[in-house]
Amino acid sequence: MSEVSGNPGQMITDPAGVVIDGLHKSFGDVEVLKGIDMTVSPGQVVCLIGASGSGKSTLLRCVNRLEDPDAGRITVGQFEATHEDVNLDAMRRQIGMVFQQFNLFPHLSVLENCTITPRRVLKHSKDAAEEEALHHLELVGLKHLADRRPAQLSGGQQQRVAIARALTMQPSLMLFDEPTSALDPETVGEVLSIMRDLARAGMTMLVVTHEMGFAREVADRVVFLDNGLVVEEGPAHQVIGAPTQPRTQDFLRRVLNPLGE
């Protein structure tokens, strides 16, 4: 990473890499992923871009096995995600995931959202779990809202809580599935800046996004997916700034310049 975060205590000590090899996935008759190969090195940030329906989210969801791949191999750190004997729960504890719709637990307070898994699954004591959770809520700037219910928070705040909730499990890989797509425009920035800080602290991140500015600034690599295949990949400035494939050029033209001027 180029820069060290302002919070050295938050340095990610053990980032995991991801290796995806020949990944296929169909829903019914529709083949969504048609053989994806890609690698994310430990500590790297990779942004997945592409039109809706190109398979980006499905690819992301295969990594922590929210979707079961039809063929291919995925390894995450020391876990072979696609192996039939893999301990899925143990693997998922190493993988934080942030969803487009936040998916906070509405019947629990912000603090409880962050402590329930450490307490119930990792068997941490109440005090230890709360201390850890408050620490992460402070990092996302929401410690003062710990007692609120998710419904009382803005979208941006909810998404920041979701990030804190994922971080309390001390993951070594973070998956972001269009984390800002459901947000009001004025709250997008607060979420992106936390993601940037996380990237700078050395977290391995796989991010499905339409935020080209974020991808350009934060991503080590950008992967453009179209129709279930990797069409182009490379450094952000290259893929977004000077794409070589016609389909990438066409997609970026439409995203960056929706009115076609």
């Binding site: 143990a90 700037g141 929401l142 936390i194």
Partner: protein, 281 residues
């Protein structure tokens, strides 16, 4: 004739009110009030029924219903989980159970349990056991469908988020999905409790000792005991309302307070700049 819309609406309301008032007046005139009073609102048996109608009748009705509902709730939750399970045998069993016990009159279950249990298993069930088991068996069938609907009303993302955090399926079900489902179905569940309260009267087909009598039994016994008309049944009816109306009020309260219903206060003002972002900005 140029009636405005508002005048027309007012006229129609007026006519409805007049018809209603007319019906009430006619009923008041034609009813034989002394006869009604003698057989339905006779104060003497009312006084005689107290306090047993409360200490025995109401108490037993509440007891039978409480345990019936409790076990029905547990059984219904298990059936609901079976109903949405991926293992087909579970689904078939749950569907069969629900269709069967929703489809037959509850009184048959009381009879089967009251007379069949001792024949088939040599069991000698107390009235409490018979009544609450029968209510639980019938209640579970109805409650199962309610809870299944509640489970399916919880957004899919909730389970996904819990599993993505590394919760095992059973733990996610127990701490995330079921609590939310229950919140959603609290009002209809209260309905089930009200229905079971009234169904507890069916224990009369089995017969019971005086000390085990519930409200309806006491009402029926009162008729023969006091020879003063239907008044004891009216007393029993009022006692049922003493149970069911508070339940309804409780349900309405909970509905108003449910989190999905709460006013969504939005905090537009941004939280104080996060220490993380200020660290690198």
């Amino acid at each position: 004739m140029a009636l405005s819309n508002r005048d027309r609406a007012r006229l129609s309301l007026g006519i409805q009110a007049a018809i209603f008032a007319g019906i009430v007046v006619v009923l008041i005139i034609i009813i034989d009030w002394t006869a009604v009073q003698r057989s339905f609102f006779n104060l003497e048996p009312v006084m005689a029924m107290f306090p047993e109608v409360i200490t025995v009748g109401l108490w037993n009705t509440v007891r039978y219903t409480f345990f019936g509902f409790l076990f029905g709730l547990i059984g219904g939750t298990v059936l609901a989980l079976m109903r949405i399970a991926s293992f087909p045998v579970y689904r078939w069993f749950a569907t069969l159970y629900i269709e069967f016990f929703r489809g037959i009159p509850a009184i048959l279950v009381f009879i089967a349990l009251g007379f069949g249990a001792s024949l088939a298993f040599g069991l000698n069930l107390s009235t409490l056991q018979t009544a609450s088991t029968a209510l639980a068996i019938v209640g579970a069938a109805y409650i199962a469908e309610t809870i299944r609907a509640g489970l399916q009303a919880v957004p899919k993302g909730q389970m996904e988020a819990a599993r993505a955090l590394g919760m095992p399926a059973w733990r996610a079900m127990l701490t995330i999905q079921i609590p939310q489902a229950f919140r959603i179905v609290l009002p209809p569940l209260t309905n089930e409790a009200i229905l079971l309260t009234k169904d507890s009267s069916l224990i009369f087909v089995v017969g019971m000792a005086g000390s085990a009598a519930e409200l309806t039994k006491m009402g029926r016994d009162g008729i023969t005991m006091y020879q003063a008309g239907m008044t004891p049944l009216v007393v029993a009816g009022v006692c049922y309302l003493l149970i069911t109306v508070p339940l309804s009020i409780l349900a309405r309260r909970m509905e108003e307070r449910s989190p999905t219903n709460s006013s969504r206060r939005r905090h537009k003002k941004k939280a104080t700049a996060s220490p993380v972002s200020s660290g690198v900005a």
